[in-house]
């Protein structure tokens, strides 16, 4: 079954949600910054918010159609919804929470379904506890089990894992994937984390200011972000305004000058003509650092610079290096130690041409 949605609704002055998309069975990631309209899409599909005009259907079943005035009540839409705040019922045990949506079933069958769902999500040992007596990851599992045990026609997940650490995220997501393999329902997964999007999504829809700006596989969309805001979200920590200086058709590159600096970068050949403004996006983890001037490299970009700042963020050393422009570089603690990286000395940055992604200039709305 495929979920199809066409939604048009004004949310606040100057902010209109206007999207049309399909979600096939499997995980479709709705990706975008907060305020881009992701949650509103889920709420419209679930029936918690009524769009101004549009049509929502799962397979042949129409949930909402502004033309025929069809509007199926929330409780009759048969969709699973996991809220960002989870919304577990605090006065019920984990088992009662999971069984809440099964009120129509006979007691024995209800108990069997709850037991099975709890097993799939590894929370069998917690069934008698209240939600405030289990861990964060276990609460997420409970919320997922509660939504899935009702055998919904589609699953709507609003950043359900963002509060958890990566290992637990992966584990829960594996459970969810396994669960969905047999059922093959469309799962809409809202997130602003590119890591989650890569890890989970079969398809990705990128949103910005209530509009779809890109869609495709997570790699297609996030590795070549067409817009600057999307690039920042997709994990490109370095974003530079630049001007094309020269095109080298033979070498397959072009030279560009970073705005406000005398730093030049060799980037992949694009369609931009000399003099055209572009943006260059580089992942902080794609930049090599050397403590002496490297020689004999295929990399086209070797830039001298000085280390301004070095801080630990979790298991990553984040260095700010001034090489004309200010670069953010991610290193492993081991790597930083080998280089004896500290503010002050000159270092060299090595950046492959293909690590430089060319995106449209700032403010160009369409790809």
């Amino acid at each position: 079954m495929t979920l199809t949605a066409r939604l048009l609704t004004r949310l606040s002055p100057g902010f209109t949600l206007d999207v049309t998309f399909q979600a096939e069975p499997g995980v479709t990631v709705l990706f975008g910054a907060s305020g881009s309209g992701k949650t509103t899409i889920l709420r419209c599909v679930a029936g918690l918010t009524r769009p101004h005009t549009g049509r929502i259907a799962i397979g042949e079943r129409v949930l909402y159609d502004s033309q025929t005035q069809a509007d199926v009540a929330v409780q009759e839409r048969r969709l699973g919804y996991v809220f960002q705040q989870l919304a577990l019922f605090p006065h019920m045990s984990v088992a009662e929470n999971i069984g809440y949506g099964l009120a129509a079933l006979p007691r024995d069958e209800r108990r069997a379904r709850v037991t099975a769902a709890a097993e799939s999500f590894h929370i069998s040992a917690l069934l008698d506890r209240r939600p405030d007596r289990v861990s964060g990851g276990e609460r997420q599992r409970t919320a997922l089990a509660r939504a899935l045990v009702t055998d919904p026609d589609a699953l709507l997940l609003d950043e359900p894992l963002s509060a958890l650490d990566y290992a637990i995220q992966r584990h829960i997501m594996d459970d969810l994937r396994r669960w969905n393999e047999a059922r093959r329902i469309p799962v809409l997964y809202v997130t602003h984390s590119h890591r989650e999007a890569f890890a989970l999504g079969d398809r990705l829809i990128a949103l910005e200011h209530g509009r779809i700006v890109a869609s495709g596989s997570p790699h297609e969309v996030l590795d070549h972000p067409a817009q600057a805001p999307l690039a920042a979200l997709a994990g490109f920590e370095n974003l530079f305004d630049a001007t094309v200086m020269a095109r080298h058709e033979q070498a397959g590159t072009m030279t560009c000058l970073l705005a406000g600096t005398s730093t030049e970068l060799e980037v992949p050949l694009g369609v931009a003509a000399p003099g055209a403004p572009i943006r260059v996006a580089i992942r902080a983890g794609d930049i090599l650092v050397s403590d002496r001037e490297p020689a004999g490299l295929s990399a086209r970009n070797v830039l001298p610079g000085t280390v301004e700042r070095c801080i630990m963020q979790g298991a990553t050393v984040v260095a700010t290096i001034d090489a004309g422009a200010r670069f953010t570089v991610h290193l492993t603690p081991g790597g930083a130690e080998t280089l004896a990286l500290r503010p002050g000395p000159t270092v060299w940055l090595v950046i492959k041409t293909y690590s430089c992604r060319v995106t449209g200039p700032r403010n160009s709305a369409e790809p």
Binding site: V74, R78, Y81, F89, G101, A103, R146
Partner: protein, 224 residues
Amino acid sequence: MDWEALWLTARLAGLVAAILLLVSLPLAYWITFSRRRWTFLVESVVSLPLVLPPTVLGFYLLVSFGARSPLGQFWMAWTGRSLAFTFEGLVVASLIYSLPFAVQPVAAAFSQVDPTLREASATLGASPLRTFMRIVLPLSKQGVLTGVILSFAHTVGEFGVVLMVGGNLPGVTRTVSISIYDQVQTLQYAEANRTALFLLAFSFTVLLVVHGLRRRPLAAAPMA
């Protein structure tokens, strides 16, 4: 102690608290969750007895209980009795007078229930009624109990409205607070003191229970 007045007061307050419980649940639900623009109007009407002098309320009730008013005529035709100066009339007057004390704690408790819990309940297939019974009401237990206790206590203590609408008929409309007034008028100070002390202890106990339930500083709900 005027045991007859005490028993009458207990019956009156118990009946009023029970009826107000049934009335306040839908009313508070409507005030809290309705999206209509004029809920504030209903809220104001419900709260009116809080600020209105009891004699004003009592006066208008007495007028509307009279044989020339539609309510008075209807009641007379239905029961063959008048509402004024009867126990039934006292119940009707007390319902109106104590209404805000039942509705406001319940409405406050309803509005404290996280709206996403109600939404979650709906996405899990629950009708609005089931959501109310299984989610909103259990999570508002304390507010509902507070409303019952406050409306009971407030009915026990009312004076002005009772005097205006019910007068002072032993066994029919003479409540404890009227009884104290009566005792003072006839200079039975020792007797009045006993009754007053009893009411003081009762009121204090009620507040202890209410605050013990809430275990929060004075909230929006009115105190008796």
